[in-house]
């Protein structure tokens, strides 16, 4: 039985439909990724599942129950923005929300201490939350959400603004949570994050579920081909781009800013691309870097919707 079952959710604000016929199931222990650009409906569906909003039509079944009013002890939300009292210390926040979560006495202390330690906050116990770095604030955010030992955890853009090290740490923690049997619904812009963490993703666009499945499967099916990405100082001229397209007989070569994207088709070889690289160098272009971009969920999104998910390097 899926732990979360969303069936034909329709949500409209007046005439405007923000969710239209969204349906998916989330199995226990999954890390389910909700992907989509801004305004796709990710937060709305999350709110509906959490019971913070009411759907116009459709149903949500959590833990085999349509009534999600009494499921707060099993559910946790790690909001994108930090949700704690910034003027309280880490420990004070932990203790208060532990109390709110129904914990008391020794158990409360134990859990608080455990979470503080688990998330690496023990050195900041008595630090005012506002004084924590962004990463540690997010860790606190997570810690507070885990106080009630939820079975289902909503992570809303958990790693936004974090440095790579922190991100990795977050990912590790998420994996640990998964290992504990927790079901996680992850909302993220980061495709690599979804790719790395999610066992299943759902792509949303303008309130509609475009596609859902295992990231690898989706990539394979919709991801397209590899792309060589050349970073050229000052970019290339239109004329040279045209030449490249003509040389490689490929119109889908894209130049944007300093980047040149050369998708690798079946009839293309790395050698041909290498030739292009050398040609560019001869032309005097300074190639700063060369990377191979594997198709990812971004590509899946792009290929399915025609839009880019995000602006990124």
């Amino acid at each position: 039985m899926p732990i979360v079952s969303v069936k034909n959710i329709l949500k409209s604000y007046g005439a405007k439909k923000v969710l239209e016929g969204v349906s998916f199931d989330i199995e226990e222990g999954e890390i389910f990724g909700l992907l989509g650009s801004n305004g796709a409906g990710k937060s709305t569906i999350t709110s509906i599942i959490l019971g913070l909003e009411k759907q116009t039509s459709g149903e949500v079944i959590l833990f085999n129950s349509k009534d999600n009013k009494n499921l707060n002890s099993k559910i946790a939300l790690v909001p994108q923005e930090t949700a704690f009292y910034k003027d309280f210390t880490v420990e004070a926040n932990m203790h208060f929300f532990a109390s709110i979560a129904g914990l008391k006495g020794e158990k409360k202390n134990k859990i608080c201490n455990f979470l503080i330690k688990w998330l690496g906050l023990e050195n900041f116990k008595n630090t005012k939350s506002d004084f924590l770095s962004g990463g540690y604030q997010r860790l606190l955010n997570i810690a507070l959400s885990l106080l009630n030992d939820p079975k289902l955890i909503f992570l809303d853009e958990p790693t936004v603004g974090l440095d790579p090290k922190m991100r990795l740490m977050f990912w590790d923690k998420i994996k640990e949570l998964k290992a504990q049997g927790k079901t996680i619904i992850l909302t993220t812009h980061y495709m690599d994050e979804a790719q790395k963490l999610c066992s299943k993703v759902a792509l949303l666009k303008k309130g509609k579920l475009l596609v859902m499945g295992n990231p690898a499967d989706l990539i394979q099916e919709y991801g397209g081909i590899k792309v060589i990405v050349l970073k050229i100082q000052d970019g290339i001229s239109e004329n040279d781009l045209k030449n490249i397209k003509t040389t490689l007989k490929q119109d889908n070569i894209l130049s944007k800013n300093e980047f040149l994207f050369i998708p690798l088709g079946q009839d293309h070889s790395i050698e041909k691309v290498t030739g292009v690289t050398e040609w560019l160098m001869k032309k005097g272009y300074n190639i700063l870097s060369s990377t191979t971009k594997e198709p990812d969920l971004e590509d899946v999104f792009l290929n399915i919707t025609g839009d880019k998910m995000t602006e990124k390097d």
């Binding site: 707060n72 002890s73 949700a83 009292y85 309280f88 109390s99 709110i100 005012k128 009630n148």
Partner: protein, 640 residues
């Protein structure tokens, strides 16, 4: 329960974590009550009399109204020469208000101009009303004095009227007596028999007439006799004259004779002398004849002289006899005169008698007429008497009524008329004005802090997304709401405790610190402490509810602050704390009575000032609890 306590502690901790908020919560009530207490402790209207009132006296007649002001012991009157100086003084606040008295006649009202600085809505208007009250008092005192004089005059008048009434009574009695007299008079008048008088007069008149006729006849006879006598007298007179002349002549004659004799003698002598001389016989003869003649003449003369002498003697005798006759004639003349006179007198007397009789007749007629007129007058007098009696009775009645009224007036105290109302301040509540300020300050502090703090903390939770976390927690919204409310209540109670501690305690300092000799103001509390605490709780709960209500509609703290101020500031002005509710329009008064701040203020005033038990202030308690309940329920039911 533990959860609730944690939520309460969270609220308190949130405030504690804000050092400035903490400072404000403690300092703010201290400051408000301390300042108010220092500024207004012992406020008393009568002490406001230390304020200076300017006075310009432009009364042109002698009046003591201006001096009456100056003599009022609870006033400081500053006199100015003219109105412009007074206006300047008011503008410069050298005086609180100004009074200008003007008038040119004691029979016209004195014009009192009240000058005040109306840029200050309440205080100057208040002093104007105080000045008006003073003026009314002075006017009342003057009226009292005047009425006193009037009453004295009325009293005297009453005495005079009583005297008049007595006089009227006497007069009436006299009238009654006069009636008797009139009757007697009339009787006497009627008894007067004019016919006898008339006939007597007639007889008298006839007698007089007869006498007159006789007198006339006598007079006529006398007159003819007198005429004859006068003729005789005339003849006698001429005789005497002649005699006299004869006498005179005769008197001369001797002389003449003497002279003639002498002459003759001379002549004779001469002739004789010459005789010898004459030769002519004839001449001589003639001479001799002449001498003989002359001698004869001389002899004749001697004879004549003797005759004359005899005549003289005879004349003398005649003269003597005529003298006697003259005397007799004179006597007769005198007698005639006397007779004339007497006759005249008799005539006159008769005439007088006639006249008198006529006059008596006329007088009798007149008397008769007078009698008739007197009778008429008596009749008129009777009628007049009747009318007079009637009028006197009316006057008597009126004067009696007036006298009774005056007696009644005597019983009226003119002081009471001038001042029919004496104001006694029957204070329903024995309270220091500071107590009112404490109640006002407490509600103001509570509404500001409770409303602001509550709304800001809720907004804070919203902006920090804590509300989301809380809504997703297993703790019910009810508990969260109650915990929040209770947490804010604790803070409100702390503030209330600070306010009331400062207000109700009084700890003298061992030595003054910056002029402060004691801590606290020692205000007496009218109700019990428990009721006061309950009251503060009820009020705070409602204000917390208002704060929660504000947080429903605001998304950030600045908006929440503005919304709080938008709500609180009008309530401050309309609640009666700053301006009396009585100043407002009736509709506004009604609206004001339903404002939470007004109700809260009334509740605290009831507890602190009036000593009304809490359970008697049903409207206030239920209204505030109703607000709390409604908002609480709305909060719990509100979707996040």
């Amino acid at each position: 329960m533990v959860k609730l306590f944690d939520i309460i502690w969270k609220e308190i901790s949130l405030v504690k974590s804000q050092k400035i908020a903490l400072l404000l919560i403690i300092l703010y009530p201290l400051l408000v009550v301390g300042l108010l207490g220092s500024a207004f402790t012992g406020i008393d209207v009568s002490k406001m009399s230390q304020s200076r009132i300017g006075l310009v006296n432009d009364i042109t007649f002698d009046s003591n109204i201006a001096s009456s002001f100056s003599s009022m012991k609870d006033l400081t009157i500053v006199t100015y020469e003219d109105i412009n100086l007074l206006k300047l003084a008011v503008k410069k606040k050298e005086v609180i208000a100004g009074i200008r008295l003007s008038g040119d006649s004691v029979n016209k009202p004195i014009k009192v101009e009240l000058l005040y600085d109306n840029s200050s809505l309440l205080s100057s208007r208040f002093f104007v009303e105080v000045a008006k009250a003073m003026i009314q008092r002075v006017s009342s005192e003057l009226v009292q004095t005047q009425l006193g004089l009037v009453w004295t005059t009325l009293s005297q008048l009453g005495g005079n009227i009583d005297q008049e009434l007595t006089n009227i009574e006497d007069f009436k009695n006299k009238l009654a007596q006069s009636s008797v007299t009139l009757d007697a008079l009339e009787a006497k008048l009627n008894a007067v028999d004019f016919s006898e008088m008339e006939s007597t007069l007639e007889g008298q008149q006839n007698s007089v007439l007869g006498f007159q006729q006789k007198n006339e006849a006598f007079k006529n006879n006398l007159a003819s006799f007198k005429s004859s006598f006068n003729e005789l007298k005339t003849e006698y007179s001429s005789f005497r004259t002649q005699v006299s002349q004869y006498k005179t002549q005769l008197a001369l004659i001797p002389e003449q004779i003497i002279v003639a004799y002498a002459a003759l003698d001379l002549t004779i002598n001469q002739l004789k002398s010459i005789e010898p001389m004459v030769v002519d016989a004839v001449a001589k003869q003639k001479l001799t004849d002449s001498i003989a003649s002359l001698e004869a003449q001389k002899t004749q003369l001697n004879e004549w002289n003797t005759t004359i002498t005899s005549l003289n003697i005879l004349l003398q005798k005649i003269d003597s006899d005529s003298s006697k006759l003259n005397t007799t004639i004179t006597q007769a003349d005198n007698l005639f005169k006397t007779l004339d006179s007497e006759s005249a007198n008799v005539s006159s007397a008769l005439t007088s008698s006639t006249t008198a009789i006529n006059s008596a007749n006329e007088k009798l007629i007149v008397f008769k007429q007078s009698i008739d007129e007197v009778k008429k007058l008596i009749l008129d007098a009777r009628q007049s008497k009747t009318e007079i009696e009637s009028r006197l009775s009316e006057s008597d009645s009126l004067l009696s009524t007036f006298s009774r009224k005056l007696v009644e007036f005597k019983d009226i105290n003119p002081d009471v008329l001038a001042k029919p109302v004496i104001f006694y301040e029957a204070r329903i509540f024995e309270v220091d004005s500071f107590g009112i300020l404490v109640a006002n300050a407490a509600v103001v502090v509570l509404i500001l802090t409770c409303t602001l703090l509550t709304s800001l903390l809720i907004i804070l939770e919203k902006t920090q997304k804590v509300s989301l976390r809380l809504s997703l927690s297993s703790t019910s919204k009810t508990i969260l709401t109650i915990g929040k409310i209770l947490g804010q209540l604790v803070i409100a109670l702390v503030e209330g405790a600070i306010i009331f501690l400062v207000a109700f305690t009084k700890i003298p300092l061992p030595f003054p610190i910056m002029g402060v000799k004691q801590i606290g103001f020692g205000l007496a509390i009218s109700s019990s402490l428990i009721e006061l605490v309950l009251g503060v709780i009820i009020i705070s709960l409602s204000f917390i509810a208002i704060g929660m209500l504000i947080s429903f509609f605001t998304k950030n703290q600045s908006t929440a602050i503005l919304a709080c101020l938008l709500l609180i500031v009008p309530m401050l002005f309309l609640s009666g704390i700053i301006l009396p509710i009585e100043f407002m329009e009736p509709t506004m008064q009604m609206i004001s009575s339903f404002l939470p701040l007004t109700v809260a203020n009334n509740l605290l005033l009831g507890l602190i000032v009036k000593g009304i038990p809490l359970f008697e202030m049903i409207f206030e308690v239920s209204y505030l609890l109703f607000i709390t309940l409604v908002v609480m329920i709305a909060t719990i039911l509100q979707k996040d």
